[in-house]
């Protein structure tokens, strides 16, 4: 496979996943901001999205929302992610199936024509729309793409991004908690933690595992360590390890990226949530995001892109 094709697939996977996760992040902010007395919620979202420094310190809510949703200068906005994914797709049409291309190309004009006021007025509709785009694309890939190296590069991009974004989502809660760390429990705290679950489409799944017992420890454990929930960091890293192993078998060669993924899986498997909270969840998340970025560049180096 051409290195350029592999690179485009990897980044297409990342961009689509990021558009999806950014929609989820905004959705979470929206839910948290509806509570009485809310004020710092959107700032927290901006910090978790890693773009607080690109916005003015007292940016309004609608400014933050449009920045994350539509801004053409923000490379991580939903608009830019989907546009970039489509550009990548166009550059490597031959590596995609018709279904995958159509999933990206269909309704494309809607997004191009969308203006900020309209988007904010109908925010839930547009967030659902973005999530549906990602779901349609993933579904098309899953059901039509040959299981060759192209599939692996696409999935690697998706899981790298998803691991990182789940960690970031969890971190929003950390930022929201900051000003009032002493108030744990109570309706407000409960609402915030369950918003994290909703944003990751994990309410039902969590319920199956913890029987409705919503605790910060349970939720953090679920999103970081659970091996069966498809958006947990551990699940994503296991998938990364498995897909990288497929490549190693196919190519008969192992690289740094293989060691990094394997080591992260060992680390997550050997972790328990109480000690994680003791040493600091936020610090752990920051470190895991760094490792994820390193993994991404190790993958590009190993496969010449």
């Amino acid at each position: 496979m051409l290195s350029r094709t592999a690179e485009n697939l990897f980044w297409m996977g990342r961009y689509i996943e990021r558009a999806d996760a950014t929609a989820r992040l905004i959705e979470m902010g929206r839910r948290m901001a509806m509570l009485p007395g809310a004020n710092e919620e959107w700032q927290s979202v901006a910090r978790a999205a890693g773009c607080a420094s690109e916005l003015p310190p007292k940016a309004s809510d609608s400014k933050i929302i449009t920045y994350l949703l539509l801004d053409r200068d923000n490379r991580s906005s939903i608009h830019c992610c989907l546009a970039q994914a489509r550009t990548n797709a166009k550059a490597i049409r031959t590596a995609l199936t018709a279904d995958m291309w159509e999933a990206l190309n269909d309704h494309w004009r809607l997004l191009e024509a969308l203006d900020a006021d309209e988007a904010i007025a109908d925010l839930p509709v547009w967030l659902d729309w973005a999530k549906q785009r990602a779901a349609a694309f993933r579904g098309a890939a899953e059901t039509s793409l040959l299981r060759n190296e192209g599939y692996v590069f696409l999935r690697l991009g998706e899981f790298v991004e998803r691991a990182e974004m789940t960690l970031r989502l969890l971190d929003v809660k950390y930022y929201v908690l900051l000003p009032e760390t002493d108030v744990v429990g109570g309706g407000r705290d409960f609402h915030q933690w369950t918003s994290v679950l909703r944003a990751t489409s994990a309410m039902r799944a969590y319920h199956h595992v913890y029987r409705g017992d919503y605790t910060p420890w349970g939720i953090a454990e679920f999103l970081v360590l659970n091996t069966m929930f498809p958006r947990s960091a551990n699940f994503c890293y296991r998938a990364l390890e498995r897909h990288l192993d497929d490549l190693a078998r196919l190519y008969g060669e192992r690289h740094d990226c293989h060691e990094t993924a394997a080591e992260m899986v060992r680390r997550l498997d050997g972790c328990d949530i109480n000690s994680l909270f003791q040493t600091g969840l936020h610090e752990f998340i920051g470190d895991a995001i760094k490792v994820t970025n390193r993994l991404s560049s190790e993958i590009s180096r190993a496969y010449y892109f």
Binding site: M1, L2, S3, R4, T5, A6, T87, K90, A91, I92, R93, T94, A98, W101, E102, N105, D106, E149, F153, Y251, Y303, Y304, F305
Partner: protein, 464 residues
């Protein structure tokens, strides 16, 4: 659709009955369904620099252009004959130049032509083939005759529309197909790949690796490039994906470098290799041309093929057929006046309003004068241009374009059409039963180029 006496020509009988039965309103409805389909599939071409959405749809007309089996036999033999003669001519101009020694083609038209590449002199491309895909633009001039408007020997485009138009039509009108017995064209990509494999270079051992080289997604024909690469199952590469090492061409892959044997290039000569041609270009693969010269890789078409589709050379194609093949030309040329010759120039200048004047090196309908539709000012501007550089212009009479029924805003009406079949030249000469019919959508207009608002139709060749 109709013969000169007004009767429906026999290949069109079924289609005429179908038009009658379907009705205009229904047709227009289907037309918009077809366009939605094109849009969803992303079958677009790109026009940059004119503002607005750069991704345009080529307007698609539902009413097919139909050729009867006997008509097609003649046409296809004529096209194949031309493709063979043009390749013989290319071999000759880069070797002994016998057609010039024989006094048939003036030397100055060849050796002083920008499309002539001295670097190619004396070189034998594999199979002595220079132009592997020849697109010939043809018009019908009366009930039995076809004439050739021009030849495209470099990188003719539009074959993806031939294939996609058919897909759309088959999807929308299955019963009509069943009734008409239309010859299938889906073999074209396989024929193209076989043609490309047949011209593998001497250095190639085993199954040749073919790639399609594109300038990239910003090129107006990018859709076609990716479409063809896809159907052939070959890599679609950009020049940055290729490099030269150890006397061979390689592509960058996730497993490291991989050999490339045949390059179907859809980029111009001047962007192939900055070392050999245009040193200012950032595109291109440094060293590619010397690998080609040494037999390490095949370029399709060969650099320098453009000399054969130069409009000043076009005039001599019937002579070429006689000279190289010893055959009578099956297809006529449209009568063409060369402004480089004083007599012909005077005639053209005296009757500009009746002529289409084309730039010798121009393409895509740019830099043309359409006499009957031109203003006095445009005509006088062209007069000045021709006088300043007579060698750069040819002129053809305008009356020769045939027309075909087309769905328009005011009902079904005749619009001018031309036709481009794609002839493949490898160890064999191959032609799929079909081609691209282009239609001028404005009433009375003669311009069919997609860049100038022309549309396309499906082309049917009826089975024997």
């Amino acid at each position: 659709m109709r013969a000169s006496d007004g009767s429906i020509r026999s290949p069109y009988e079924q289609v005429a009955a179908w038009l009658e039965a379907t009705g205009e309103a229904n047709l227009r409805q289907r037309q918009s369904e077809a366009e939605a389909l094109f849009r969803r599939l992303g079958i677009t071409f790109s026009v940059y620099g004119e503002g607005g959405d750069p991704e345009r749809l080529i307007p698609f007309d539902l009413i097919p252009r139909v050729f009867g089996a006997a008509e097609w036999r003649k046409l296809s033999r004529g096209v194949q004959q031309r493709a063979r003669a043009l390749n013989a001519f290319l071999y000759d101009v880069y070797h002994r130049g016998e057609i010039m020694r024989a006094g048939i083609v003036p030397e100055s038209l060849v050796y002083q032509n920008e499309a002539y590449l001295p670097e190619m002199a004396g070189f034998d491309p594999p199979g002595r083939i220079y132009s592997h895909i020849v697109g010939v633009d043809i018009v019908r001039t009366n009930d039995t005759d076809f004439q050739v408007l021009e030849d495209n020997c470099r990188t003719p485009s539009g074959v993806s529309y031939m294939l996609e138009n058919r897909e759309i039509m088959m999807r929308m009108f299955p019963r009509l197909f069943a009734a008409c017995a239309v010859d299938p064209i889906d073999e074209y990509p396989t024929m193209l790949k076989r043609t490309l494999q047949e011209v593998a270079p001497p250095a190639c051992k085993g199954e040749p690796t073919v790639v399609l080289l594109t300038p990239g997604p910003l090129n107006s024909a990018y859709y076609e490039h990716s479409f063809l690469a896809d159907l052939m199952g070959v890599e679609l590469v950009e020049s940055s994906d290729l490099f030269v090492n150890d006397g061979l061409v390689w592509m960058r892959t996730t497993r490291g470098p991989q050999r490339v044997d045949v390059i179907y290039r859809r980029i111009d000569d001047s962007y192939l290799d900055p070392l050999a041609f245009n040193p200012d270009s950032l595109l291109g693969v440094p060293g590619l041309f010397s690998v080609y010269r040494a037999g390490g890789v095949t370029l399709c078409s060969a650099p320098g093929s453009g000399i054969a589709d130069d409009k000043a050379i076009y005039v001599f194609v019937p002579e070429m057929i006689r000279f190289y093949l010893g055959e009578q030309p099956i297809l006529k040329n449209v009568q063409t006046w060369r402004c480089s010759l004083a007599d012909e120039r005077d005639h053209v200048l005296a009757n500009l309003k009746d002529f289409v004047v084309k730039q010798v090196h121009g393409s895509g309908g740019y830099g043309m004068l359409i006499g009957p539709h031109a203003t006095k000012k445009q005509i006088s501007e062209f007069r000045t241009k021709i006088l300043a550089d007579p060698d750069a212009y040819i002129a053809q009479p305008t009356l020769e374009l045939s027309s075909a029924p087309t769905v328009t805003a005011d009902g079904i009406d005749a619009r001018h059409v031309d036709f481009r079949p794609f002839c493949l030249v490898g160890k064999q000469v191959r032609l799929a039963p079909g081609g691209l019919t282009r239609v001028a959508l404005t009433k009375g207009s003669l311009v069919v180029n997609s860049s100038q608002g022309g549309g396309v139709k499906d082309t049917w060749v009826l089975s024997e």
